[in-house]
């Protein structure tokens, strides 16, 4: 279990994480979803002991990460966002070293290294230097090094970023297996779909602030049943607003010279009528996007921007 309470981390004037609180439970995947620079890795860094929190508390299975750092880190497996492997060592040597860093020794270390090697499907490449591996293989090994000591709490920082579909499937399978055996997983990502399909609970983070959290159903209900319609082109903002004021059930989220963002039920069914009205307001529509209720539309609703710019 990870308990984060009022966590704050500043780098000089920059507040990278602001007053974050959440709890991740055993046997569940807690997703931390946010765009680049949102503060995901900073949160992970504070939990793993790499960064000293400016304020707030983090506890791993009851151990405070600041006052009982070693005890808390013993329970943790961390897969950093960037690869953290010895490129000139073999897969087995890497696994052995990181296993030893978590206190495994002797025959236990050896047999566990073999087991993990098989688990990450690298047994055929056991003695080759890691620098000869493909990106996906290196990521799998990076994951393997994090689970050598069978941690009860696992921090995974964007484990699938930049990985080919096959390795990605394999990685996700491995994470699920780990959870099935009772581990508590904190999983950061900026892939909406991944968060939706994988995570039991989610927090959305933007510019250091947790802007929403809950399980998928709760988050979906925050968006309601409404679609988000995004139009680009050339608009007279004022005329558009007054025209749309007569439309029932349409909420204007954004209206300026170039972009319109509307929220409504079943947008596709009302498109024709809407276009007609907009044309009468001398709108010149170039592009239309409909986003159905999803984390994406929740993010747009909460922040006024899309997650992938």
């Amino acid at each position: 279990m990870i308990e984060v309470e009022g966590l704050q981390k500043q780098f000089g004037d920059l507040v990278a994480v602001r007053d974050a609180s959440f709890v991740a439970h055993p046997g569940k995947i807690f997703g931390l979803l946010g765009p680049n620079g949102a503060g995901k890795s900073t949160t992970i860094g504070c939990i793993s002991g790499l960064l000293q929190p400016t304020a707030g508390h983090v506890r791993i299975l009851g151990h405070d990460v600041v006052t009982a750092g070693q005890a808390s880190r013993r329970q943790l497996g961390v897969m950093p966002q960037e690869l953290a492997l010895y490129e000139d060592l073999s897969a087995t040597e890497n696994l052995s070293f990181w296993g030893a860093a978590y206190g495994l020794r002797g025959s236990e270390l050896k047999s566990r290294a073999r087991e993990v090697l098989e688990f990450v499907a690298l047994q055929d490449r056991a003695v080759e230097p890691v620098k000869n591996f493909s990106g996906g293989m290196q990521r799998r090994l990076n994951y393997g090094c994090a689970i050598m000591h069978r941690p009860r709490v696992l921090l995974l920082d964007e484990p699938t970023a930049g990985v080919d579909p096959q390795s990605r499937m394999r990685l996700l399978e491995m994470v699920k297996e780990q959870v099935a055996s009772g581990a508590c997983v904190l999983y950061t990502t900026h892939y909406m779909e991944e968060a939706e399909t994988l995570c039991d609970e989610l927090a959305i983070i933007d510019q250091g602030t947790l802007i929403a959290q809950g399980d998928l159903a709760e988050l979906r209900s925050m968006v309601g049943q409404r679609d988000i319609l995004r139009l680009t082109g050339v608009f007279h903002a004022e005329r558009v607003r007054s025209t749309l004021a007569n439309f029932d059930g349409v909420e204007v989220l954004q209206a300026d010279e170039a972009t319109l963002r509307l929220e409504m039920r079943e947008a596709t069914r009302h498109l024709a009528k809407l276009f007609e009205a907009l044309q009468s307001a001398e709108a010149d529509i170039r592009e239309t996007t409909v986003t159905q209720p999803s984390l994406e539309s929740l993010f747009i609703k909460l922040t006024g921007k899309e997650m992938r710019e």
């Binding site: 860094g45 793993s48 002991g49 790499l50 960064l51 070693q70 005890a71 880190r73 013993r74 943790l76 961390v78 950093p80 960037e82 690869l83 953290a84 492997l85 010895y86 490129e87 000139d88 060592l89 040597e93 052995s96 070293f97 990181w98 030893a100 860093a101 978590y102 206190g103 020794r105 230097p129 090094c145």
Partner: protein, 422 residues
């Protein structure tokens, strides 16, 4: 403690994979030593010669300068350069007729002037190990020089680049003179301290002309001439190893492994101590080989070898830990290697590694014997000649041990406080 052992084993595996590096750290000083002894009219050893092929696809004044650098002065003793096309060069290399092929790409001069990335390609002969290594090492020193040059002469270089880009007929004589005088003035000021290539200039040692009163220690008459040189070579190898090993902290940083260690329950000091210990084992092996070579070929007196070996290991440890602290204080691996390089060459020069104290003027030898490596060298010579008192040696060793602990502590502190940095 157990993690310490794992950390040692981990680094030993890494050194084993990269074992030509330690070989070079020992071999380059030996080659320099050979050259010195030849320059002093000493032994009749065979000079190694690097057969270097250069394919100049840029054909610019700057690439010409690079080519020229290998055939000037002492560099010419070490390198035999042949200009050749790339294909013909590869063929010769395949047939084992050369040590290495250096390809200077088209656009090289422009890239250097503009400070944009460019790559010199060095293809080495796999059948030879040492000679291509020397070429590689020399070229990397030159590249550091170019980087350094850019910091110092950046404005002048940009001016040249601008002139080349704008003036159809090329720069006017006046512009060239102006830039050249400015560069000349800067070179005057910083030449001895900055140019890493000055290593080769220093082999112009002219021993017979030295001041006979310049001897700092009485050398026994029955010790071979070459003994003047060899302990300096040993220290040079230690300095090289210290520099090479200390840069590894940057590799740990770049690979993200340093951060990862901090996220484990194991301690950073055990990790760093393991790294230092693995380095000591490398230093110990290279030192032992050099001492044996010295005894067999360079007339090193066979007395006190175990003590000399221990002294070398302790000195190597101090040099490594000290340079690691220096590395940790700058902001990049590149800066780290430039700083340590620009420290170590002057230190080796004045500290008796290029020309022995015995051939220096008294004042210089006195100053030199107080540089860290110079002081280590004086002690090492004394040990080899059995001229040390046990008490004095114990004091000296405790002093080194204290410095070692201090530097280790400093390195640990610095690593810890910068742990989150990339």
């Amino acid at each position: 403690m157990r993690f310490f052992t794992s950390a040692v084993i981990k680094d030993l595996h890494r050194h084993r994979r990269d074992f030509w590096k330690p070989v070079l750290w020992g071999a380059i000083p030996l080659v320099v030593g050979e050259l010195l002894i030849l320059a002093m009219g000493g032994s009749d050893g065979v000079k190694p010669r690097v057969e270097l092929l250069i394919s100049d696809e840029d054909d610019s004044p700057l690439s010409g300068f690079v080519k020229g650098a290998f055939s000037q002065g002492e560099m010419a003793e070490l390198f035999h350069v042949e200009a050749i096309s790339q294909d013909a060069g590869r063929e010769q290399l395949d047939q084992g007729e050369a040590s290495a092929l250096l390809i200077i790409p088209a656009g090289f001069q422009q890239a250097v002037l503009d400070d944009t990335p460019c790559q010199l390609t060095l293809i080495t002969n796999p059948a030879q190990q040492i000679l291509p290594g020397i070429a590689e090492e020399t070229i990397s020193v030159m590249v550091d020089g170019a980087f350094y040059g850019h910091r110092l002469f950046g404005d002048e270089l940009r001016e040249i680049a601008d002139v080349l880009a704008t003036e159809e007929d090329g720069p006017t004589a006046l512009q060239i003179v102006r830039v050249a005088t400015r560069i000349g003035a800067i070179v005057e000021q910083v030449n001895e301290h900055v140019d890493p290539l000055s290593i080769t200039v220093e082999t112009e040692v002219d021993v017979p002309q030295s001041d006979p009163q310049g001897n700092v220690s009485g050398i026994e008459a029955d010790v071979a001439d070459t003994f003047y040189v060899f302990p300096g070579i040993l220290l040079m190898a230690l300095v090289f190893m210290g520099e090479g090993l200390s840069g590894d902290i940057w590799v740990e940083r770049r690979q993200g492994t340093l951060k990862r260690v901090i996220a484990t329950p194991s301690t950073l000091h055990a990790f760093l101590a393991g790294k230092l210990a693995a380095g000591l084992i490398v230093i110990g092996c290279v030192s032992l080989v050099l001492l044996v070579i010295g005894t067999i070929y360079f007339g090193l007196p066979g007395k006190n070898l175990p003590l000399a070996w221990a002294w070398m290991i302790l000195s190597g440890a101090v040099l490594t830990a000290t340079m690691q602290v220096v590395q940790l204080w700058v902001s990049s691996q590149r800066a780290g290697s430039v700083v340590t390089n620009s420290l170590m060459f002057p230190l080796m020069m004045i500290g008796g590694s290029f020309f022995p104290f015995e051939s220096m003027p008294t004042w210089m030898a006195t100053v030199g014997s107080w540089t860290p490596n110079g002081w280590m060298l004086v002690q090492l010579k004394a040990i080899l000649l059995s001229q040390v008192e046990p008490v004095g040696l114990a004091l000296a060793a405790s002093f080194l041990l204290a410095i070692l602990l201090l530097m280790f502590w400093g390195g640990w502190r610095r690593t810890w406080s910068t742990r989150a940095r990339h």
